[in-house]
Amino acid sequence: MGTLLAVATSTGTGLSALATANFWAQALDWWENASFSGTFLSPSQAIESLPVVAQGFPVTLTMAFIGFFLAIPLGLGLAFLKMAKFAPLRWIATTYVDVIRGTPLLLQIIVIYLGLPLMPAFQTAMEPFSNITFLSLDFSAWFRAFLILSANSAAYLAEIFRAGIQSIPKGQMEAARSLGMKTSMAMSVVILPQTVRRILPTSLSEFILLLKDTALFTVVSFGEMMLYARWEQARTFNMTPLVLVAVFYLLVTIPAGRIVARLENKLAEQDSGTASRGKRPPRLDVASTHVVPHQENVLQEVR
């Protein structure tokens, strides 16, 4: 009796598993053929296009990271020029920033990326590096991409840096100078370290923008992630590769955005004097901020 029951049960389980598998297969079939999901969210298409799109992912990351990395010193230089005492230096920096920020990046990409190779001088300059390739792109292409991205981002960073430096109270520079520091030293050991903390969130937001902007290089057929996705889309008449590429962008931009938010909170806390960063001493309680008698004793003993 017991054995019979067991057999019946196991047969039942087998049947229901079969039915479940069948259900999912049917569901998948329906999903693949439905008008919306089949066009934008086709799993089979995603699997097919994944290796192609993924191929462009390191290219996009390299563009964004190196472009941004190069933009930092450029932006800092521009920020100092904007604050220069000598007016013509300020004019140069202001004009540069105005032109870059006042024109579409797409325009800058087309003009510089397609324009530079038209100059014989540029071709000659690139000649010695012609056998260098990275991620299937030649040196000249990388050079132009980094040039455009860093030159563009630097203009935006310059404003962030300048505002950051000028937000540091004047007394900080005065205190540093009164201790015998030169302006340049005061800038590097007192002002800039404080500025970095303040501008970190905004600069990181700038990085996120830059990462997304790399997609514009598709128009000059620079082989980054978006271009691969477009090829796949054109080849298959299906939008799924583009949704897939969106996921790749989000993979970077969402965590980066969370970091920005966290940094901003931390900064707000530090400015109000309540943060505890790493191994810091405990916060002062109200009692210890008042005059404690033994402190005077310490003073008298030492003197």
Partner: protein, 247 residues
């Protein structure tokens, strides 16, 4: 009298066409404590800031220990090492601990090793009664503690003259005493000090000489007894009278 360590000759300072200091002459001798009193806007802070060239005099001469510091060929960064300055707003470096604040100029300006700097920093913080706060950041210290760190930071450079610019003006009354105690000890130790202050009690007790300024001129100067007990000038009398009424 020993020779003047600070000498100001015919100093004038103009801000945007308005002369805020008119022909100031002042000498400070070695070991002397000079308190500068006067109503707000009298130019006393500007005068103090002219001594270490945070404000550049429009004309006149500022001599510190035999060097004319507003001369063209003077290395002001070197000259400033002999002039400790303490500010009303403390101006501690918020990204450094108390100890880091004291060490910074020692390692960067005097090029001392990290160990030497740290030994000096700990010693100076102990002098101002804050040995146990060495690892605290300025935001974790009270105003009075911050100001004492600022004093330690200036003293660590072994200045020949200390300049105090209304150092207790932004402190809660109960925190003022600690800072004044440190300054009093410093004066007793023989430090040359120029103190811009509103603390009449401190000026009366500690100052060797009191200078009263109004509207960009030195109206009257003399011993604390002279200035506080029998002021000669009407403006001095008025100013001190107001203060007595307030208290």
């Amino acid at each position: 009298m020993s020779k003047a360590i600070v000498e100001i000759k015919d100093l004038k300072k103009t801000f945007a066409n308005e002369e805020v200091l008119h022909s100031i002459n002042l000498q400070v001798h070695k070991g002397e404590v000079v308190c500068i009193l006067g109503p707000s806007g009298s130019g006393k802070s500007t005068l103090l800031r002219c001594i270490n060239l945070l404000e550049v005099p429009t004309s006149g001469e500022v001599w510190v220990d035999g060097t004319q510091i507003n001369a063209k060929n003077t290395d002001i960064n070197k000259a400033r090492r002999h002039l400790g300055m303490v500010f009303q707003q403390f101006n501690l470096f918020p990204h450094k601990t108390a100890q880091g604040n004291v060490e910074l100029a020692l390692t960067k300006v005097l090029k001392l090793s990290k160990d030497e700097a740290s030994a000096i920093a700990i010693e100076q913080l102990a002098h101002v009664g804050l040995a146990d706060r060495a690892d605290y950041y300025p935001s974790q210290l009270s105003g009075g503690q911050q100001q004492r760190v600022a004093i330690a930071r200036a003293l660590a450079m072994e200045p020949k003259v200390m300049l105090f610019d209304e150092v207790t003006s932004s402190l809660d009354p109960e925190l003022v005493r600690d800072v004044l105690n440190v300054m009093r000890d410093l004066a007793r130790g023989g430090m040359t000090m120029v103190v811009v202050t509103h603390e009449m009690g401190f000026a009366r007790e500690v100052a060797d000489r009191v200078v009263f300024m109004d509207e960009g001129v030195i109206v009257e100067e003399g011993s604390p007894e002279d200035i506080f007990e029998k002021p000669k000038n009407e403006r001095t009398k008025n100013f001190l009278g107001h203060l007595i009424e307030q208290n």
